[in-house]
Amino acid sequence: MGVPFEALLPYAIMLSMFGITGAGLSKIRHMQNGGKRARHSIDQWDRQMMDRDRRLTGYLRGQTDKVTAPLGFELNNPWRTEKRFF
């Protein structure tokens, strides 16, 4: 008696659907993060450091290991403001 593979075909189809969508989502997140795994569980410290990375390199996930910052770095930290209406 062989394995009844026709009965297992729907399971194979479902598994491959899950697999393809999971792999596709992972690939999209990979590309969105500049070729690295996405960051998770980010707290305020991590957000502040990622903002500093963006000010240093121009990309949210960009990294450099230079010793001194590029010119203008010490002046490009913005004051966040809101518009008042009166």
Binding site: D65, V67, T68, T81, E82
Partner: protein, 162 residues
């Protein structure tokens, strides 16, 4: 009416006036988050005294220490820049591997123990700086020197002897 809490999400204001000339100019550190995390224990090993001074100054100023503590802050920046400079000239390859591994792993140190061992060995050889975790209990092996590991992305189950 000033009773409403301000919401700071609409515009930004960039103030480009530089600091006055009476304050000595120190270049800011150019390393971003992953290299800084990777070098942080070595910065702590060399610059512990200056960092403690700065933190003491800020704590004692009760929130008003931005201008008063600038002198200690300049010392902190210069010392950290010197550590980064030394690591860049001596151990650049291992340093890059370690912080690239960290960047790929949510900046969690426990995924990247193998490159970290190589970096620690190189830095100890060339710069005599050793990574110590402050506040760790003395009677257990520190976390970065343990042999077995489970659950990480790069499971190093047996550490190779150095």
């Amino acid at each position: 009416m000033s009773a409403r809490q301000p919401r700071f999400n609409q515009t930004v204001l960039l103030d480009t006036t530089p600091l006055p000339d009476s304050i000595p100019k120190v270049p800011e550190i150019g390393a971003s988050s992953a290299p800084l995390l990777s070098a942080s224990f070595f910065i702590g090993a060399r610059c512990g005294a200056y960092n403690d001074d700065y933190m003491k100054c800020k704590t004692e100023a009760f929130g008003k220490g931005e201008v008063e503590c600038m002198k200690e802050g300049r010392k902190v920046t210069r010392c950290a820049a010197s550590v980064l400079d030394d690591i860049n000239t001596n151990c650049l390859e291992e340093f890059r591997k370690h912080w690239q591994c960290l960047d790929n792993n949510n900046q969690q140190l426990w995924h990247c123990r193998r490159p970290e061992q190589l970096l620690n060995a190189c830095v100890f050889d060339k710069l005599k700086l050793e990574k110590k975790i402050p506040g760790a209990p003395e009677d257990e092996t520190p976390v970065h020197l343990r042999n077995r590991q489970i659950f990480s992305h790069n499971v190093s189950s047996f550490r190779e002897p150095e």
